[in-house]
């Protein structure tokens, strides 16, 4: 019996009529799928290591390369699917935990696709965003129930002191992606794009690279269980601080950046010795309860002289509403909720695919809960986890979110092809790797431009959709579930989402 039972997942096909033997593919594949044979004077392809990242196909000047699912089918079996059988082989070989990159790829329902948006007809004019103002400006942070203006006349001055607020020109921020899980070029591109668009990036738990410090006013710094790169300067260099409790892709477990990726720059940024594994514990070992969280929140507020909003990020889990309520009462200014479709550099496949709940329900539950308790003003809600397009964003805001985090979408804008092999460090697109040969494939100028374009494009679309609803300010969309209708949802689901069914 052969030692290796796992057959190739993909078949690389090269059209001999188109291939010009230019070897661009050979020079691009970090998985050594393509090689040039000088004797035969032709390029050969070995499908076994192909991860379907499309780097070769994308750069092939003649479009000679196509990549398909392996044509080697197992006997159809609804229970023992190809994927499951392959995983069993892999584990039988390795005896290890199955790893995956990016977010949950299982066919769970996507509730965004079961909600539809409203538009004005006759009784209420739609607004043309090209001719009329259309406002997306969003403020994240704790707000009082009311403001006092004294004296009560036109020359009134503000008598209420507002807590610090993040000002977003578009209600979209970049999710936490650490320098280490992604390359230096990817990190700096995200920071630059955030600054150019007027929104925020997030360091994840990778620390704040010295080159990114100048972008501090457009960055949110994370305090995670590993406390990497955290010191008082780090906290004060940013616009806001986020305590990371959990991550949608792997609720309840920690992180692990292998030592070989911890080069000089990363070790300096994370403040750990070069070459050592960067381990983030599953819990914060100083937070075993909500009151511990409160202490950390206020420790951070003290350290930043109450000048920066403090966000708490949790994974969307079963009783997320109660947890969120507790977090708000513990003093968080922003609650970030990460759904189970959120991406990651590496997660145990079983966790990624089977833990957590859809962000749509988590958001609806949290917003309703905070309103029911009359504390919705006290914190902003930011949601993350698999936002694919501007319509998803509009639906999330209508459900009650103040803003969304995008991670995967941003990576895709930079070139990611979702091959889910981030954890191998062999990202052919120069994003999830520290290999200098690969990282230079991502030109920050290009990446920044693409990210900015993405946000601009989404902003235009959001304005169009708002205009269609006859709304010209984002705050009138936020939590306005009247503009959502459900299709193909059960009564129960409709009730949790608190939206009407289409036709109602």
């Amino acid at each position: 019996m052969r030692k290796w039972l796992v057959q190739p997942e993909f078949a690389v096909e090269r059209d001999p009529d188109k291939c010009i033997q230019c070897q661009v593919c050979v020079r691009q594949c970090a998985n050594d799928v393509h090689t040039y044979d000088p004797q035969e004077e032709c390029v050969l392809s070995d499908s076994r290591t192909c991860v379907a990242c499309h780097r070769c196909a994308t750069l092939c000047p003649t479009g000679a390369i196509s990549i398909r699912r392996s044509l080697l089918d197992f006997r159809p079996n609804a229970n023992w699917t190809d994927g499951r059988i392959r995983d069993l082989y892999k584990q039988a070989e390795s005896g290890g935990v199955l790893l995956s990159g990016m977010g949950n790829d299982q066919p769970f329902p996507v509730y965004w696709d079961r909600m539809l948006l409203n538009a004005s007809q006759v009784t209420n004019p739609s607004i043309d965003p090209l001719r009329e103002p259309m406002e997306l400006l969003t403020h994240l942070g704790r707000k009082p129930d009311s403001v006092r203006v004294t004296p009560l006349d036109g020359s009134g001055r503000l008598a209420t002191r507002l807590d610090p607020q993040l000002e977003l020109k578009v209600p979209i921020m970049f999710s936490a992606m650490s320098y280490g899980s992604i390359s230096y070029h990817a990190s700096i591109s995200l920071a630059r794009a955030a600054k150019e668009v007027g929104t925020y990036g997030n360091t994840g738990e990778g620390g704040l690279h010295k080159d990114i410090r100048p972008y501090g006013e457009n960055m949110i710094v994370q305090v995670a269980s590993g406390r990497f790169g955290v010191d008082v300067d780090y906290l004060n260099a940013a616009a806001a601080v986020e305590i990371k409790i959990g991550q949608g892709a792997k609720p309840g477990i920690g992180g692990h950046l292998p030592g070989e990726k911890v080069d000089a720059a990363i070790s300096a940024t994370r403040m750990i010795p070069q070459g050592t594994d960067a381990l983030s514990p599953a819990p914060h070992h100083d937070i075993y309860s909500i009151e511990d969280l409160r202490q950390l929140i206020y420790a951070i507020k003290e350290a930043t002289r109450y000048a920066k909003p403090v966000s708490v990020k949790i994974a969307a889990v079963h009783n997320v509403a109660a947890i969120a309520s507790g977090i708000v009462r513990a003093g968080a200014d922003i609650v970030a909720i990460d759904g189970y479709r959120g991406g990651t550099g590496a997660a145990p496949t079983m966790i990624r695919n089977h833990v957590g709940i859809p962000i749509e329900f988590a958001l609806a539950a949290v917003d309703s809960r905070l309103r029911a308790e009359g504390i919705r003003n006290q914190a902003s809600i930011v949601v993350a986890g698999g936002f694919r397009c501007s319509a998803d964003v509009v639906k999330a805001i209508a459900l009650g979110a103040d803003a969304v985090y995008i991670g995967t979408a941003a990576l895709v804008a930079m070139g990611c092809h979702l091959c889910q092999k981030c954890y191998t460090g062999k990202c052919n697109w120069g994003i999830a790797t520290q290999d200098p040969y690969l990282t230079k494939r991502l030109n920050p100028e290009v990446a920044t431009r693409r990210l900015v374009n993405l946000l601009r494009g989404w902003a235009h679309e959001i304005k169009e959709m708002m205009g269609g609803m006859g709304i010209n300010a984002i705050e009138s969309l936020r939590g306005n579930r009247e503009h959502l209708r459900g299709v193909g949802l059960t009564d129960r689901e409709l009730r949790i989402l608190d939206i009407k069914a289409a036709g109602e």
Partner: protein
Amino acid sequence: MKRIVAKEEFCLGCRLCEIHCLVQHSQSKQIIKVFRSERGTIVPGCHVEQSGLVSFAIQCRHCDEAPCIEACMTGAMHRDPDTGAVLCDQDKCVGCWMCIMVCPVGAILRGSAKQVASKCDLCLGRDTPACVANCPNEALRYEECDT
């Protein structure tokens, strides 16, 4: 004048610049045909140098004081009055290789078909030279360089 500038820190070494330079200067302008039937009749005016992690594409710098023009004995090598580009008139060139001898970047090659010098002509007639337009990582840029 506008010149091609190489950003070596972003060069992938994919050599698409060479390939598209060939196509641009071919008869058919059809890439597959070029590599089938015209290969060997053209040499690219742009070539990639690579050593370990470092790589970059180099083509004629179109120097202000172009040694190749001074050294050219036939007057084939000349400066285009409109664009300032240094061009080689292949009908005048007799292949004495003086230009190759004096080009400090080694950007002039012996044309493989005719025994005449072959070099970058900035793809005159195109807004952007083919190598620049087809660099997947914008490691080649076509921009004003004051000298």
